[in-house]
């Protein structure tokens, strides 16, 4: 397959690989640091739904290496990695003038946006 790829198709493979790889590296490092910090001062794990940390509080937490903020950022990065992968693939297909796959990846992105909207509306 690799030998038969068009240059642009090979580019999509390369972009997807890089996004997935670096998403994994950064989130894994943050998780590892978060676990290390959390083990220094063990806390009880809550079993009920937890309130969301604000962006401001998370930034402050990151600055002082607060374990919850580190792990929250790692989780969000992890969730965002495949989303970014779809966005970049969509752009690569657009550059490649492949409207069918721009539409395909566009629908996936629309579902993700709809999920965020429903989540923010407070489905519980």
């Amino acid at each position: 397959m690799a030998q038969q790829l068009q240059p642009t198709a090979a580019n999509v493979y390369s972009i997807v690989f890089r996004v997935l790889f670096w998403g994994m590296v950064v989130s894994t490092s943050l998780f590892a640091l978060g676990v290390f910090r959390a083990l220094q001062h063990p806390v009880a794990i809550p079993l009920a739904p937890i309130p969301l940390l604000s962006f401001h509080a998370t930034l402050h937490g990151l600055a002082r290496l607060d374990p919850a903020s580190l792990m929250l950022t790692a989780t969000l990065l992890l969730i965002l990695t495949p989303v970014v992968r779809v966005v970049l693939a969509c752009i690569a297909f657009a550059v490649d003038r492949d409207p069918k796959f721009v539409a395909v990846t566009g629908i996936v992105l629309a579902v993700i946006v709809l999920t965020v909207v429903l989540g923010r509306l407070g489905l519980r």
């Binding site: 397959m1 690799a2 038969q4 790829l5 198709a9 493979y13 997807v16 690989f17 997935l20 790889f21 998403g23 994994m24 989130s27 894994t28 998780f31 590892a32 978060g34 676990v35 959390a38 083990l39 063990p42 806390v43 009880a44 794990i45 809550p46 079993l47 739904p49 937890i50 969301l52 919850a68 792990m71 929250l72 790692a74 989780t75 969000l76 992890l78 969730i79 965002l80 990695t81 495949p82 989303v83 992968r85 779809v86 693939a89 069918k100 796959f101 395909v104 990846t105 629908i107 996936v108 579902v111 993700i112 709809l114 999920t115 965020v116 429903l118 989540g119 923010r120 489905l123 519980r124």
Partner: protein, 298 residues
């Protein structure tokens, strides 16, 4: 439950195992993680599902990137089927927020039973198809032709190029929707359903199906994770050791996957799934009907 070194070590070890087997079989590892969190750590099933979904993304990034690099993944096919898995994941995770705990456990047990039987029945399918050249000598259907979904990869275990013609996109799309729904509802990648549909109905060889599924489960699980995160159900202290373990396990699993034959793996997998299915069913029956069955150590 305290976030101690003991807790982290056990959770991390289970997650390494789940990630390793997940990578070998094209599943997210959630089918091991959810039962472990429920049966070993006694976590509420919704928290277990939420934590498992995040770990599914981790295994997808780790395993998926490697399969993409080796060109085993069929990107066009994966992105086409993602349309259906993400819609399924959204409907499944919305449903999960409202469903009773015992029903989720019973559904999970049902999925495990199905996976066990499916893995055992299909254990020799792939080798026979490749040997007969059936993957390359098929006619594509209209959607497959229109979207250029067919592909090929180099199989290291067989030391040959395996080309294949994709067909059966209708059934593939439908099963992908169901797999997405299972993902959002039960915290799994839905990989077994997709791999089995791609392999048996869409004429995609097992390894290409595994690689493609591995990439797809990331964005599918991301949809469910977003909803669970916004509902406050993602607990970072549970997610972190699980994500670290599944990432490490998935990396190891991906290294050896393209060098192994699938029949032996599927047999081990079938037995393990049956065991976990029983454990989840025992818990569901006890919770809803107060029927106490022997637990077989789980």
């Amino acid at each position: 439950m305290l976030f101690s070194l003991h807790f982290v070590s056990i959770l991390f070890s289970i997650a390494v195992f789940a990630g390793f087997f997940g990578a070998l079989l094209g599943v997210g590892g959630g089918i091991f993680i959810v039962p472990a969190l429920v049966l070993v750590f006694h976590l509420p099933v919704k928290l277990a599902v939420a934590a498992s979904l995040v770990s599914v993304i981790a295994t997808s990034n780790a395993g998926g990137s490697s399969y993409v690099e080796q060109h085993i993944t069929n990107l066009r096919l994966g992105m086409f089927l993602e349309v259906f898995t993400t819609i399924g994941a959204l409907s499944g995770s919305v449903l999960a927020l409202y469903l009773n705990e015992w029903l989720m456990l019973a559904l999970f047990a049902g999925l495990l039973f199905y996976m066990s039987i499916s893995a055992y029945v299909s254990r020799h399918h792939d080798d026979r198809q490749i040997a007969a050249g059936a993957y390359a000598n098929a006619s594509p259907d209209a959607w497959s032709r229109r979207l250029s979904l067919s592909g090929g990869y180099h199989d290291h275990a067989l030391d040959r190029q395996v080309d294949y013609v994709v067909r059966g996109t209708g059934i593939g799309a439908f099963v992908s929707y169901l797999a997405g729904m299972a993902s959002g509802l039960l915290g799994v990648g839905g990989g077994v359903l997709k791999v089995s549909a791609m392999n048996r109905s869409m004429n995609v060889p097992m390894k290409a199906a595994v690689g493609t599924s591995k990439m797809m489960i990331g964005v599918t699980a991301a949809v469910g994770s977003i909803l669970f995160y916004l509902a406050g159900l993602i607990h970072f202290y549970v997610v972190a050791p699980v994500a670290l373990g599944t990432t490490a396990g998935a990396e190891l699993g991906t290294l050896v996957m393209n060098r192994l034959r699938s029949a032996v793996l599927k047999r081990i997998f079938a037995v393990l799934m049956l065991y976990l299915a029983y454990g989840m069913l025992v818990k569901a029956l006890a919770l809803r009907f107060h029927i106490i069955l022997p637990s077989l150590g789980s």
